[in-house]
């Protein structure tokens, strides 16, 4: 019966993807395209060459970081919507370090820069955290506001003090993350991301700290009664979540973009939230879903270019994947459906669906 659960967990997203492509195909046919050709391009784009395979990993890297940032925060019941801002601030610091510090060997420079990026992201995440605990402010709006501030600040830097050249953008950092396997732009950032996911998985499920963090996320009052330092844990999770996103920004900077310019980091924060939730707030799930999104996007570029279909078709398909994947897992968790699938093997009603809604989210802290 456990096995059957596992199978369902895997089948649902696959069905969701197939269904989304079916609808996407219908759309393409409806506007006079050839769906088969379109999807062949998609496959070719995603896996057709070494460069394309590598490109998927390149695209997956920032998504994994923001996805992990969201996972970490939500597990502790805090709704950090500010990964984008934290990502950007991490990159801002890294570009500063990368373009001003001289005389260090690349490896050391990058290490320092990544650490500083993570710290800055953490500090940026600390703001909504402390405001939540200290002033009772809703972290969602604070983090959204801070996203705007970070993006504008980045804009100020690349068009003002850190500008270089004729377009508003900063200089490029010269210390670049090592590229891997000759797969085009694929760089060691993906390894950092995956290792980080492993560490978070271990922390979350195999350490005392992770356990407490999850407990706070699921029932902060009970956690407090059982002697867990709730406020400290919440702040900590904001900071770590921010640090993960900030590290992501640094990695993206040193690995892929090399400089800041308009549009840097755009959308990664919210994509991360969707990815984390589809990945069931599991770090490993987050990595897989992020990779899936990346593959879809890489393939989509080629498909769009090859067929001349509007790129919005891909956005539609991607949104449909979210819609179907989440609706699908909610659907199979409906008591009636559950019973039908799982049959007679459950003596008590094992509703799992509330798992993703840590109940401290809407609760002000410290009101107990």
């Amino acid at each position: 019966m456990k096995l059957r659960n596992q199978i369902i967990k895997i089948i649902v997203p696959i069905l969701a993807i197939l269904l989304s492509f079916l609808i996407g195909g219908i759309l393409i046919a409806a506007i006079g395209g050839n769906p088969k050709e379109a999807f062949l391009y998609l496959l070719k784009g995603a896996f057709g060459s070494k460069a394309n395979v590598g490109e998927s990993f390149v695209k997956a890297t920032p998504l994994i970081f923001t996805g992990l940032a969201a996972t970490f925060a939500y597990r502790c019941g805090v709704f950090n919507l500010g990964a984008e801002g934290q990502f950007v601030m991490g990159a801002v610091v890294s570009v500063y370090i990368g373009t001003t510090v001289t005389g260090l060997p690349d490896a050391l420079l990058i290490t320092v820069s990544l650490i500083c990026g993570a710290i800055t992201g953490g500090l940026w995440g600390f703001i909504p955290g402390i405001l939540k605990i200290w002033r009772g402010l809703n972290e969602m709006i604070v983090s959204i506001m801070l996203n705007y501030v970070a993006i504008l600040f980045m804009g100020y830097l690349y068009s003002g003090p850190l500008r270089e050249g004729s377009v508003p953008q900063t200089a490029a950092v010269t210390a670049k993350l090592m590229r891997l396997f000759g797969l085009s732009r694929m760089h060691i950032g993906i390894v950092i991301a995956v290792v980080l996911a492993g560490i978070i998985y271990y922390f979350m499920f195999y350490t005392d700290g992770g356990f407490k963090l999850r407990a706070v996320g699921l029932n902060s009052t009970a956690a407090a009664f059982n002697g867990f330092p709730v406020n400290r844990l919440m702040i900590l999770s904001f900071v770590i979540s921010g640090a993960i996103a900030g590290l992501g920004g640094s990695v993206e900077l040193h690995g892929t973009q090399y400089r800041l310019m308009s549009g840097f980091g755009q959308g990664y924060g919210f994509d991360g939230v969707a990815i984390a939730l589809i990945g069931q707030l599991n770090p490993i799930g987050t990595v897989l879903v992020a990779y899936l999104f990346a593959v879809l996007r890489t393939g989509a570029t080629t498909m769009q270019v090859g067929t001349g279909m509007p790129t919005s078709v891909i956005d539609i398909i991607q949104a449909l994947v979210i819609v179907f994947a989440v609706a699908g897992s909610a659907f199979v968790n409906l008591p009636k459906v559950r019973q039908f699938i799982v049959g007679a093997s459950f003596p008590e009603n094992p509703l799992k669906r509330k798992k993703n809604t840590p109940d401290a989210i809407e609760k002000g802290v410290g009101e107990s």
């Binding site: 784009g45 504008l152 804009g155 004729s166 377009v167 508003p168 549009g263 270019v305 279909m309």
Partner: protein
């Protein structure tokens, strides 16, 4: 974003016949293909539209097949260009210096594909930069604005702080002051090329605060917002760019345009692609070589001012307007 293979059927047919005659000397059955990438929309009534139209117009003359992708995110510039290269496109048109990094990176991997970089400053084996003269554009707009303003206040809206935009603004101001020393220039940046509403608010505040009566913008869709506001007033005008706006649309607001003939420069690129001489150069666009020109005037411009203005344009061309 979106895209479309080739231009309309009519122009394509026309294009192919022409291409056939031109290309006979080289590979007779080879159809050349050009693709354009864009971060904004081709239907923004400004920069994107002008660049797209330029590509289609140039392709119609040279027989190239065209395709485009618009609405691209920064992170997707490179992969989109790469996909076009993989699909055997001969020329990639990147209309803005923000694409330099992506172009340089991909160009290194695809030596057989040629790249045209508008407003760029890169010259390599397979990258040619196209550089319309921002100084002259600024002068042309500023002179007209200065001549037309009755309130002695004129406005400028920028999208992003591009060097070219800053240059245009500086020269706009110089020129306006040269023709009318009492002029004050008010400027603002929208921080975007697409936030039409921002354009409206900026125009509205410039009018109400400073009684600005002539405006010029370098911000695509943001400019159309400003025009909407100007239309609500009498005797408030706008100067268009980079297309000849009055040639394609009716407007009570637009008094004239500073026209950049990107098509001409692109056509040069395409011909060089076909002849194999591409690369290692910058094609300048200015009044002398006909890539910049004065567009259609509206009835709001009195004949005497028009004459005065055309004279100034002649001076700009000769480099004698402001030394």
């Amino acid at each position: 974003g979106s895209s479309q293979t080739s231009a309309t059927a009519a122009s394509q047919a026309e294009g192919t016949t022409q291409a056939a005659t031109q290309a006979e000397t080289q590979a007779p059955d080879k159809t050349y293909k050009v693709a354009m990438i864009l971060d904004s929309s081709i239907a923004d009534g400004g920069w994107g539209a002008a660049c797209y139209n330029a590509m289609v117009a140039a392709a119609a003359e040279t027989g190239f097949e065209t395709q485009y992708t618009d609405g691209l995110a920064t992170a997707d510039f490179a992969s989109s260009i790469r996909s076009y290269c993989d699909l055997g496109f001969d020329l990639i048109f990147a209309p803005g210096n923000q694409y330099s990094d992506a172009v340089k990176e991909v160009a290194a991997d695809y030596p057989d594909v040629d790249f045209a970089l508008l407003n760029g400053v890169v010259e390599t084996e397979n990258i040619t930069s196209l550089l319309p003269d921002a100084e002259q554009i600024g002068y042309m707009a500023g002179a007209l604005a200065g001549l037309m303003s009755k309130t002695n206040s004129i406005g400028f809206i920028g999208g992003l702080e591009l060097d070219t935009t800053k240059m245009k603004l500086a020269k706009y101001e110089e020129a306006a002051k040269a023709v009318n020393p009492d002029i004050t220039v008010y400027s603002a940046y929208a921080g975007s090329f697409s936030d039409t509403a921002k354009g409206m608010e900026i125009a509205e505040s410039m009018i109400s605060l400073n009684d600005v009566d002539v405006m010029f913008g370098d911000a695509s869709a943001v400019d159309s917002g400003a025009r909407e506001v100007l239309a609500n007033y009498e005797d408030k005008y706008d100067i268009g760019q980079p297309g000849d706006l009055l040639a394609t649309q009716e407007s009570t607001v637009i008094i004239g345009s500073v026209v950049t003939d990107n098509a001409r420069m692109l056509k040069i690129c395409m011909e060089e692609v076909m002849s194999g001489e591409f690369g290692n150069k910058t094609i300048y666009g200015n009044l002398e070589n006909g890539s910049l020109s004065v567009g259609t005037f509206s009835d709001a411009v009195p004949e005497d001012i028009k004459a005065q203005y055309l004279e100034i344009v002649e001076q700009i061309k000769e480099g004698t307007f402001i030394q």
